[in-house]
């Protein structure tokens, strides 16, 4: 096996012939997505885990150099497809920072709402799958029923359930209709009951606690030194949350808490995610009740967001603006400069480093993928644990292979 021998720290097989090698993945139900691990085992104990990734590498960053700023949002959907809305918000947040655009108030609030709903959707999947992997099937069904409700909300909002592509440079694709607001209100009202049920099912479940407590412990110093962010870092006692610390969106208007745990094991990460869902629900409720009136796009003078069809057909400014934006040799002007902007995505700090070159196509569109950085922690976390703990640790890190490999 070339991978195992290529590694400088590979265990020499002559002196330790009781160590055996097991290939895990890339097509294994418990990895959820396409990733491969070469495990060196002493009986059932993991001596070393060598991750082999890249099976889903599809050149997303290279595609960013030939698709324009609005087209590339469809690619960001496919990075972390569990919370595509967050990726859309992160990508266009970075583009708007590069362009120096200030969004209208209503658009900012709607972005907060969709980002928080996608956080709930992501945490439901992550915790639900963690429960499923450790034997809690009912819990998984409870979580997935609510994800279905969220998909319905996204479908009513923008027509797509899975790959939303909802944001645009300088605004959003569609405004929120009264029907969407009604559905979100119903979700805000109903969801706490499910959350209570889920907590009662698993929080004090002996099997689940035995499988997760003390497994995959990450200390606070290691979490910071190894660039962990999001629930993985907060489960280890790092209080960093970009929503509080350096908000791109108006999170200062809402009353919410940053959820932390100190144990740093799989159970702590699970608890952080459960608590974050409640806080996100509170943010959604506050935002939906205080949703400002007004436009969802920047004025057409900025020449980045498409004007409405009514403006195109009835005003000369609208027609010109539409023409300028639609023609392939026009587009909008971007500074010859580069910047980085990040949001607190469900998985951690999701940022984009964009280099502009004057045209409406980026020179370089680098994504800081939290899954990639968290998967680098995995060999460290699993060392010394048993084979069956692999699914518990993988589940608690919430590795999405599409974002891992991009």
């Amino acid at each position: 096996m070339s991978l195992a021998t290529a590694h400088p720290n590979a265990v020499s097989d002559e002196s330790q012939d009781y160590i055996w090698t097991l290939n895990f993945g890339p097509q294994h139900p418990a990895t959820h997505t396409t990733l491969r691990l070469v495990l060196k085992l002493d009986g059932e104990r993991v001596v070393e885990a060598l991750p082999d990734i890249g099976y889903l590498h599809s050149g997303f960053e290279k595609l960013g150099e030939s698709l324009d700023y609005n087209q590339y949002v469809t690619i960001t959907d496919r990075m972390n497809y569990i919370s595509p809305m967050s990726n859309n918000v992160a990508w266009h947040g970075a583009v708007e920072k590069l362009l120096g655009i200030e969004l209208p108030r209503r658009a900012q609030y709607i972005r907060v709402i969709v980002a928080e709903l996608s956080r709930i959707s992501d945490h439901l999947l992550c915790n639900g799958a963690a429960g499923l992997d450790t034997g809690a099937f009912t819990y998984f069904m409870y979580a997935f029923y609510q994800r279905e409700v969220l998909y319905d909300i996204f479908e009513t909002l923008c027509g797509a359930r899975f790959t939303n592509s909802y944001t645009r440079v300088g605004g959003l694709m569609y405004d929120m209709t009264p029907l969407v607001i009604e559905k979100i209100r119903a979700f805000v009202k109903d969801f706490p009951k499910t959350l209570d049920d889920m907590e009662r099912l698993l929080n004090r479940n002996k099997i689940f606690i035995d499988r997760t407590k003390g497994v995959g412990v990450l200390t606070k110093e290691e979490a910071i030194n190894r660039s962990a962010s999001g629930p993985v870092a907060r489960g280890s006692g790092v209080t960093r949350d970009l929503r509080k610390d350096e908000p791109v969106l108006p999170y200062g208007d809402f009353d919410f808490q940053v959820c932390c745990a100190t144990a740093g094991d799989c159970y702590a990460r699970y608890l952080v995610r459960m608590a974050e869902m409640r806080e996100s629900l509170g943010i959604v409720q506050q935002a939906i009740e205080n949703l400002p009136q007004g436009p969802i796009n920047v004025p057409i003078g900025e020449r980045t967001a498409l004007p409405t069809k009514r403006m195109v057909y009835s005003t000369i400014e609208g027609t010109i603006s539409h023409f300028e934006l639609e023609m392939s040799n026009r587009g909008f002007k971007v500074p010859h400069d580069e910047c980085y902007s990040a949001i607190e995505a469900p998985n951690g700090e999701l940022g984009f480093y964009i280099v502009g070159n004057g045209s409406d196509v980026a020179w370089r569109a680098r994504c800081r993928p939290p899954s990639y950085i968290h998967f680098a922690l995995f060999p460290h976390l699993i060392r010394g644990h048993t084979l069956s703990d692999i699914v518990a640790v993988l589940g608690s890190l919430n590795i999405i292979a599409a974002e891992l490999d991009r």
């Binding site: 890249g54 910071i224 660039s227 400069d337 980085y340």
Partner: protein
């Protein structure tokens, strides 16, 4: 977002550092030979304990660019939420910089990805191998001179058949 004391301290320690400001972010350009010292200085003296990301940009035919590659280190301080971007420029054939793994363990896979995509080597890295692309791959696809059309490297790969596998 960067404290002015940080910029002053960095300029005092490394006089050749050039800083610029764009959209509230401070970028410091250091020479590649003092890159490691600058990163170590920022980590130990200014408490930039969190390495956000390492990435690279190929400036081939970019307007006004004098150097080929720009390495970008995004640093953050988890206590004060201060951020700074450290950049350095590299030209062929000297595409080697010291590895930052001894400062931040998180740099390991980030440097491997930069090596994989741009061919920049990090001296002192514990395990510098390709990470996303297969080991047989010969090119560095995020470089700007990588062709976007054609047959690519795939036809050079060894073909495995059932008999000789």
């Amino acid at each position: 977002m960067t404290d002015s004391a940080t910029i002053a301290a960095l300029a005092a320690r490394f006089p050749e550092v050039k800083t610029s400001e764009f959209r509230g972010t401070t970028r410091a350009v250091v020479l590649s030979k003092s890159l490691y010292d600058a990163l170590a200085f920022l980590k130990s003296e200014r408490q930039f304990d969190f390495l956000v990301d390492i990435t690279c940009v190929d400036y081939l035919h970019y307007r006004g660019a004098e150097d080929r590659f720009g390495l970008v280190y995004l640093l953050a301080n988890t206590e004060t939420n201060e951020r700074i971007t450290v950049r350095t420029f590299l030209n062929e054939p000297e595409l080697t910089v010291p590895s930052a793994v001894s400062l931040w363990e998180g740099a390991n896979w980030m440097e491997r990805e930069v090596y994989d995509m741009f061919g920049i080597t990090f001296a002192g890295h514990p395990d510098l191998r390709r990470i996303l692309l297969p080991e047989e791959f010969t090119a560095f696809p995020l470089r700007k001179d990588y062709p976007l059309q054609g047959r690519g490297e795939r036809h050079n790969f060894p073909v495995l058949t059932r008999e000789n596998a």
